[in-house]
């Protein structure tokens, strides 16, 4: 029987773009166990700085504690089930439920790490340390330009965006940023982080639903970039990968069409050939591996912790 992805024929079962059961499995086996970008560290510089973020279907709040470490919890008051965060980020104000400031028993994000100026989180207690090969981002520390990110949404599956970025890159057998490529190629980190050096833009493609993706776009530059370089990078990000950007605006409708077509029973009988570029193949091979038999580790619960900001 041929699987959702068949490496031999380089074909996909179209249901991978719209089947709720596959989406549920992705959330459990990919997004609950993978390192994902939370945001730039320069948005979490001082004690009390916090940002809200998405890890798959999980809404989390991450903050800098007084000792300079990173902390994270599921963004939910255990007493009244309201989010702790009001808005997407804040500073200094204590991150606490306005109604139950003394609430305890938060579900903690077990792993947080900072690499090259970017903050990553992993919901899996037994996660291995993150492999992050930042070339072609190749600078010691990145910072986000500005105080805002561009956020938008489209009615398509998240993998189509990843596939697009992967097709531009030879990842050999790893789905990580390839370290020996020319500087201007795009880079990806499994599962849902992409970087386009040409426009200095960093995207996270959140699987909001089988057929809906929510996109976070930051502009990132080297921490010592000049004011002029930062401004040029910001404009490039907006003009390429913002929703009004000349690249992104054409792609989203295309991804919507592929997602919509994948719902048809007849269409599903015809497997979707993907380009035989090793980047795309590597992405789907890794995705398939994570979804199927190889991923048999028992599920662990997320630990509870007392919180003290």
């Amino acid at each position: 029987m041929t699987g959702w992805f068949d490496p031999g024929s380089a074909t996909l079962d179209r249901r991978v773009f719209s089947d709720p059961a596959i989406h549920a499995l992705e959330l459990e086996r990919v997004f609950a166990t993978s390192w994902q970008l939370v945001g730039p560290a320069n948005w979490l510089l001082n004690a009390g700085d916090w940002i809200s973020a998405r890890l798959g279907a999980e809404l989390v709040a991450i903050w800098r504690d007084r000792a300079g470490g990173l902390q994270g919890v599921v963004d939910l008051c255990p007493c009244c089930q309201r989010p702790l965060s009001t808005g997407e980020r804040g500073s200094a104000a204590p991150l606490a439920c306005p109604i139950h400031p003394q609430a305890r028993g938060f579900a903690r994000v077990p792993h947080l790490t900072e690499r090259n100026g970017l903050v990553f989180a992993n919901m899996d207690c037994e996660a291995l340390p993150m492999m992050f090969e930042p070339d072609p981002i190749a600078v010691s520390r990145l910072i986000a330009v500005g105080e805002h990110r561009l956020r938008w949404t489209f009615a398509g599956n998240w993998k189509l965006a990843m596939e697009h970025f992967c097709s531009a890159i030879d990842m050999r057998d790893r789905v990580h940023a390839a370290s020996d490529l020319p500087r201007r190629t795009s880079a990806t980190q499994f599962p849902n982080l992409t970087f386009d050096p040409a426009s200095s833009s960093l995207q996270v493609w959140h699987p909001a639903a089988p057929d809906r993706t929510e996109v976070d776009t930051w502009c990132v530059v080297a921490h010592d970039a000049t004011e002029a370089d930062r401004d040029a990078a910001r404009r490039a990000t907006q003009r390429a990968w913002g929703p009004g950007g000349l690249l992104a605006q054409d792609l989203a409708p295309h991804w919507q069409s592929i997602t919509e077509t994948s719902k048809g029973l007849l269409a599903r009988r015809h497997r979707l050939p993907i380009e035989k570029e090793s980047g795309q193949r590597a992405f789907y091979a890794w995705w398939h591996h994570r979804l199927t038999a190889a991923n048999t580790r028992p599920r662990r619960s997320i630990p509870l912790s007392l919180r003290a900001v």
Binding site: T86, G87, E88, L150, W152, T153, R235, P253
Partner: protein, 177 residues
Amino acid sequence: MPDAVTPGTSSTLALRLEVETFYYDEAALLDGRRFGEWLDLLTEDIHYWMPVRRTRISAQLDSEFSKIGDMAFFDDDRKMLEMRVRRLETGYAWAEEPPSRTRHLVTNVRIVGVEAELITAESNFHLHRTRLNSDESNWLGLRRDVLRRESGALRIARRHIFLEQTVLLAPNLSNFF
């Protein structure tokens, strides 16, 4: 805030009528996809800008929108707008090929400042867009324009667009506001 020029006078009403008429004609050009003619309504130094909005608590609403120089959905000068129009005319701008169908509704026009040749006007808008069979987007918001009189005719020198959305609830922004 009342009209900055003397409220209720015939010159105020005449100016508002002139600005409203200008906006209706402009909307007709955009909905008719006459983008080249729309460009003629913009000054050489236009700033066409749509900031990013985020949820803030009441005490922090002054930082709700990104400031000029921070990230924005649009931060275009005339050259960039001309490039967008040229691109739409190639037939290879896939977001608009086949084209979307738009309708611009412009209401609540208020003249909030007049200084020599510069008129500051605010208006509410509803941009409704459909494309193909089932794609539908709605954008409502406020436009704060600076209009300048050039050789007697009104031209848009600044258009700042404030949307009622934080996460943009649309797959793209391939239309003009």
